[in-house]
Structures are given as C-alpha cells and as structure tokens.
Symmetry: C2
Subunit: 415 residues, 2 copies
C-alpha cells in the first residue's frame, strides 16, 4: 500500500484542498498579552474618537468670523475670557468678540468654532490681537473624525502588533477576542533515539526532532505539546497517536517504526480514522517517506527522521496548515537571490531541496554553498544551513555561478 510517489506539486495541491480546515474558535485574552495573536472578530468602535471637538494646536479658541480680515497690520482684537484646561470639560464660554486660551488636545469651549495659533497672536493682559484669519473649524479635530461610533476599527484576522493593540486601547478595551491557538502534539519514533535529559544507552543518539519541530510549531503560531520519544513498537505508537489525537488539534511524528519489513507509521495512521492517509511518499529529496493524513478534522504529519529533512518538510507542508487553523495569513519563506558556489545535483525524478549556507560576496550579494544533508551530521547541517534552494524534478543540476533563489530558514539575514 501507499507505494506510488506523489509529485511535490500534487502533494501541495492535496494539502491545500483536503487540509483547508476551519479556525478553531475564539477566546478572550488581556490586550496586554495579545501581541502576535490574531483578532478573532471584527472590532466596532463603541465611541466617537475623538469623543469631543479638540484643538490640534496651542492658541486661542475663537469664533472664526471674528478673525475674518485680520492681517499683520490690521489685527482682530478680542477679549480673553479664560483658559480651557486639557482633560477637563471647559468652564468658559466664548461669545462674540471673545476668546479662550487653549492647548493642544483640549476640548473646544461652547461658542467657539476655530482656534488661532499662538504664533499668530499677541496678548496683553486680557486683550488678544489676532494677526491672521482662521476659517470655521480651523485647527479643530471634530468629534468622530478619527473613528465614528459604530465604525469598524479592525477586521477579524488581523495579526496584533504594536499599532493594532494601540488602536484597541484607544477604544477603551482591555480584553480582546482572538483565535484559539492550534495545539500540536509532537512525538518522535525510532529505536535509535532517546530523549534528551535521559542517560544515553549504547547504540542510541539523542532525539532532535521533537525539540526542533516543537519550536517550529511555536514559530508558526501553534502551541506544541512535547510527547517525547515513543517506544519502537506498533502498540506503543498506536497508543501514543490515539492519546495525541484525543488531546491535540494536529499530530506530528518523525522517524519511522523499524519493526517489520516496512515502515509501519502510514499503516497505523491510516487505521486511526477517516479519511486517513492522503499522501505517503512524496517525490522530493530529502523527505520521500513523508506521510500526510487526516483523522476526522485533525491533520497528522509523519515527517522523515533526519532532523534537517524533518524541519524542511515542516516548512514546506505543515506550516501553512497550522497557520490556516490559527486564522493567520500563510507566510511563504522569505527569499534572497544568490550565486551557486558549486554544482548541485538533483535526485532523479524528484524535486530536490539543497540546504545551503549564505555568505556575502564583494558586490553585496550572496553566495550559496551546499551543506550536504545525507552523510554529514545532523547537527552540523542544522546549525549551519541558512536556507534551501530548489532544483526542479526535470533539471539535472544547478551549475556553479548560476543565479539561484534561496528560501531562508532563519530571519536574521534579510534587513
């Protein structure tokens, strides 16, 4: 079963179609904790902003018509009737021929319909001379001009950064409804791996994937639940997957169960519920054994065991699914152009991804140098690779000196 390799484009298409899952609902969180969450509902303002007509300059609140015709050598003369304080309802009223001292942000007093800037005035006791005319509503920000009561301030789906959280504060909110974060159970399989923190038995290495994939989940807007290394047998894996499915929205395994003649993971996953395995075996290198399934409404990803391959396939296939479930815009990897430092070959008939490091060249461009993923160490590759480039299935190689597009696995390179 599951022997035909699916092409990479077909795999993406199936995932886009079959794993287009709805968001998981909304929850209310304190606005101060809402950074990088996704707004779960349209926010409509319950107040006019500003809530009153306010001055946008320091100066004097006046009746505009009292200043008409005022010029440098023919000032309008007004009486100063008092002061309007910022943050308080005005106590003074402005009648014909009158004015009131006012500062930026203070409410316009009754009777006034404009503010003359202090630079355009001269004051002597309670007598004010105005050297420049001001139009009606001049230097006033009218009630509701920033946002009107009943108007939409932010649409659902907006990722909350400093500006958005500032906007919600302006509406007087301290709590905000955001989309729930998808919970992703992460576990590793394979007889050769043991959990970090435990003693390392002879013949084993420490598991990397449950840690690196948990971190990738967090970065994609999911909440990882670390389930560690599952013992290497069918019953243990089945039990672990059933527990994971009961408590999480997405399940992610890596590595394969090594008992029996073939990899058991796809068969076990397929027996857990409908519709079951959607893809098993993808024509990519690395990552051929990747399996993607759907159990009820819960995606199950079985990633390859090699740490760099697992992380790469996560970025290519799983990240967009998690982002969509989180109500988050799906982000493509950022890319940079670079020059290939060496000839890099593709695997026959498979879309090939080559891990590369990037170095700045003299002309302020980048040079992409391949980091082998197979024979070479998991750690060396993980620690060094800045990104990857793609070689199409029908291309034999990318030549040294050719321009290539490198998709970044880290964000620090682009400025």
């Amino acid at each position: 079963m599951f022997r035909r390799l699916t092409s990479f484009d077909e795999a993406k298409r199936v995932i886009n179609e079959k794993l287009k899952l709805p968001v998981l609902g909304v929850e209310e969180v304190p606005l101060l904790e809402a950074y990088n969450r996704v707004l779960g509902e349209k926010v409509v303002s319950t107040l006019d902003i500003p809530p009153f007509n306010r001055s946008i300059v320091d100066g004097y609140a006046v009746k505009a018509e009292d200043t008409f015709g005022a010029e440098e050598n023919q000032p309008a003369k007004l009486a100063v009737r008092g002061v309007v304080s910022v943050g308080e309802p005005p106590e003074v009223k402005v009648g014909k021929g009158e004015s009131a001292e006012i500062v930026t942000g203070a409410p316009i007093p009754e009777g006034a319909d404009a503010v003359v800037m202090v630079e355009d005035t001269d004051r002597d006791g309670d007598e004010l001379r105005v050297f420049r005319a001001v139009t009606r509503d001049g230097n006033i920000m009218k009630q509701g001009t920033d946002i009107k009561k009943g108007e939409t301030a932010l649409e659902a789906g907006r990722v909350l950064g400093s500006s958005e959280i500032g906007v919600l504060a302006a509406l007087g909110l301290t709590m905000v409804k955001v989309f729930k974060v998808p919970v992703v159970a992460v576990l590793s399989t394979g007889a050769e791996v043991t959990e970090p923190g435990k003693e390392l038995p002879a013949g084993k290495i420490y598991d990397i994937n449950a840690y690196s994939l948990s971190t990738a989940v967090r970065k994609s807007g999911g909440k990882p639940v670390y389930l560690g290394v599952v013992p290497d047998d069918e019953v243990a894996l089945r039990n672990a997957l059933e527990r994971a499915l009961a408590s999480a929205d997405v399940v992610m395994t890596s590595g394969g169960v090594s008992v029996g003649p073939h990899d058991l993971t796809p068969q076990i996953v397929n027996s857990l519920g409908e519709p079951g395995v959607l893809l098993s075996g993808i024509a990519v290198k690395p990552g051929k054994p990747t399996t993607v399934a759907l159990v009820g409404k819960k995606p199950v990803f079985s990633m390859p065991g090699h740490p760099t391959s697992a992380l790469l396939l996560f970025h290519l296939l799983a990240r967009p699914v998690i982002q969509r479930m989180a109500g988050r815009p799906t982000t493509e990897a950022k890319t940079v152009k670079a020059v290939a430092a060496a000839r890099m070959f593709s695997a026959k008939g498979r879309r090939t991804f080559v891990m590369v490091t990037l170095k700045q060249n003299k002309r302020n461009g980048f040079v992409a140098e391949p980091v082998a993923t197979g024979a070479s160490g998991a750690i060396t590759t993980l620690a060094k690779a800045d990104g990857y480039l793609e070689i199409p299935a029908n291309h034999q190689f990318v030549d040294a000196g050719e321009e290539v597009v490198v998709s970044l696995l880290k964000d620090t390179l682009v400025s």
Copy 2:
C-alpha cells in the same frame, strides 16, 4: 535648561556611546521554552556525536579489503553472520570473509570497517555476493565527526530558533542558560488621557501609548511592565518614576506633564540620579520633545505623546538599547524601495520622518502614500501606516515620482 535641539545623528551617537549597557546576566530555562531567547553562554559538547561509528546506508557491514576487486561479473563472496539492530549495541562480530546485515543509523559491529549498500549485493540464505568494492570507512559516519566532545556547539549570543534548539537537544540538554530579559516599565502621562477599561471622563481620551509601547517592548525582546497613566502632577510623576526605576531595568514614559509653563518631565528625570538627562529635544519631526536619560545604569526614555510619534521614536532610539541589554543583535528596520505618490515636505532644519502606506503598483513595485500624523487621527495613522521614509534636514521635499526607501513598521509586507 535643555533648550538646544540635538541633531538626529548626534542623538544616535550619544545613545550608542552612553547607553551601551552590559547584558543583565543569565538565567536557566527549559529548552522547550527557549524559543527566541538568546544563548547566555558558549555551549560545549559533553559527548561525541555520533557517539559511535554508525552506518549511513542500509546494507552489510564488512571488512573493506574483502570487497577489493569485486565487480558486477566477479562478485566477492561473504558469509552473513547475523544482524545489527538499530539502537542497540551489536551482538555480532565480523571476521575475515564475513558480513552482518545493518540498517541506516545502526552501530558498526566489531571487526567491520565499511558498509556495502544493499543495492550492490545479492543474498542467498547466509551467502552474500558483493558486486562493488567499498573503501575502508566507506558508508560509515565515524564517532565524533558531527561534533567532538569538548567542541563548541553554539556560541553565546545566538538567538534560539528551531535549528539551535535542535542542536542543544542533540547534546542531551533539556535546560539552557539564556540572557535575562530586560524589564521595561511603561507609563503614560498627560491630563488628557485615561486608562482603557476605566470610564471615560468628559474632556479625556483613552491612553494608547502604554499599550502600543508595551507591545513594541515585547517585540524587541524586553518584558513590559504596564504602569498605566500617572496623574498629571509633579509629585505623582516623580513617585511613579522612582518606583519604576526601583523595579525595572528601563523606564519609558510618553506624553508630558502639562502643569507649569514648560514640560516638567526632563527636569524631574534629571533630578532622579546621575548622569541624568543626556538629550532633551531632538531635531526630528515628529518627536522633537523626546528626552533620553540615564539614571545609574538604567535608561529612561520620555517619548512624545502622539501615538505614532511615540512608536516611531521607540523604533529609532529605544529598540536598539533594549536589544543590546538583552544580548540580542540590534536589528535595523527592514526596508523596501517605493515610488513617492505625492510631494512630501520636510520640517525646516529637522530630519523628517513621514508615515506612509504602501500599495503594490502594476510593475510589482510599491507606491508610498503619506499618512499625515499631526492633524489627523492617532488611530487612523496607527492602523494604516506600513512604514516611514526619511527626508534629510537639508532637503526641502521628496517629489512625487521620486524613488524612496521605506522602513517597515510591520513585517507582513516583505515575503
């Protein structure tokens, strides 16, 4: 006091020199919680990785010299002595003329010094024919070739992403020492603002800055402590600042105390301790009233009251300081090129930053349209501005159609 405006370049220079503060020390956190933290010490491996010689293919462990001369039509003939399981110490030994079945990742059994790939063999019961010679160490990853015991795996200062956390897991670690996060007390001043969540008194508006700046602090790798709106008088502000300095590593205020003829904030800040105010009044627009001080080892930033200006000045001046205290690489804002949609004027003699929105044009480029920050609403500007462009102090304007560089305030635009 503090009347001369400091040029923007001089302000940056003073901040770089006087606020070059040491990191705040290290703390230990669970590796699974360490995403986006900064490694606080060099991590040296306490083990060889791999911890044993391991096969990198599926096939047969052999003595290489037994295969020398083997070809398609002249195979070497070996006896199969047993199987090496993955994840367990080998029970079988390989003598002259012998072999042992082995899978990828399994330890090389005693006596063997190479692995022939299964594709290059043919097996009949316990008899193996090898059709291709293999060199000594062929298809073996030797103990410690990925990383040697005592070797540095990661340097201090590395920001921990999926790859780095994977590397630390490979070393068997579950806890990691990271730099402490700078605690930043954030408070707002001004008689016109009241805290979100409270009833809005007549003449007041809701405070935006303590929320938007707290979020910006979080985004920069600091831990915000929200202190809300401080009552509008000298004693209250002094008390609030003293409390903030006692409990935080950095203090950030915005707005100004409006009592008295002049802005009191710089004078109060200056009286809190040595060396005191470093800059008060910067030749930029917006942001002229910005004050930067140092009290002991603690930076105090007093930002302008206008929300967009406060956020802009945070990015320009405060963010690099917080990042340095966090041991984090200081990031410049990401930039994109765009075409100016309209003529934008500079403020006489001041470095001018114009908030803009970006729209994609037909040729896949961007058009930058100004969003006025002064008269127009705080909310509208905050919600709309994608970034800002700079006009040098000695330039009168940027003309419509001119190419400009826009520094992004949001990350979602670049892919």
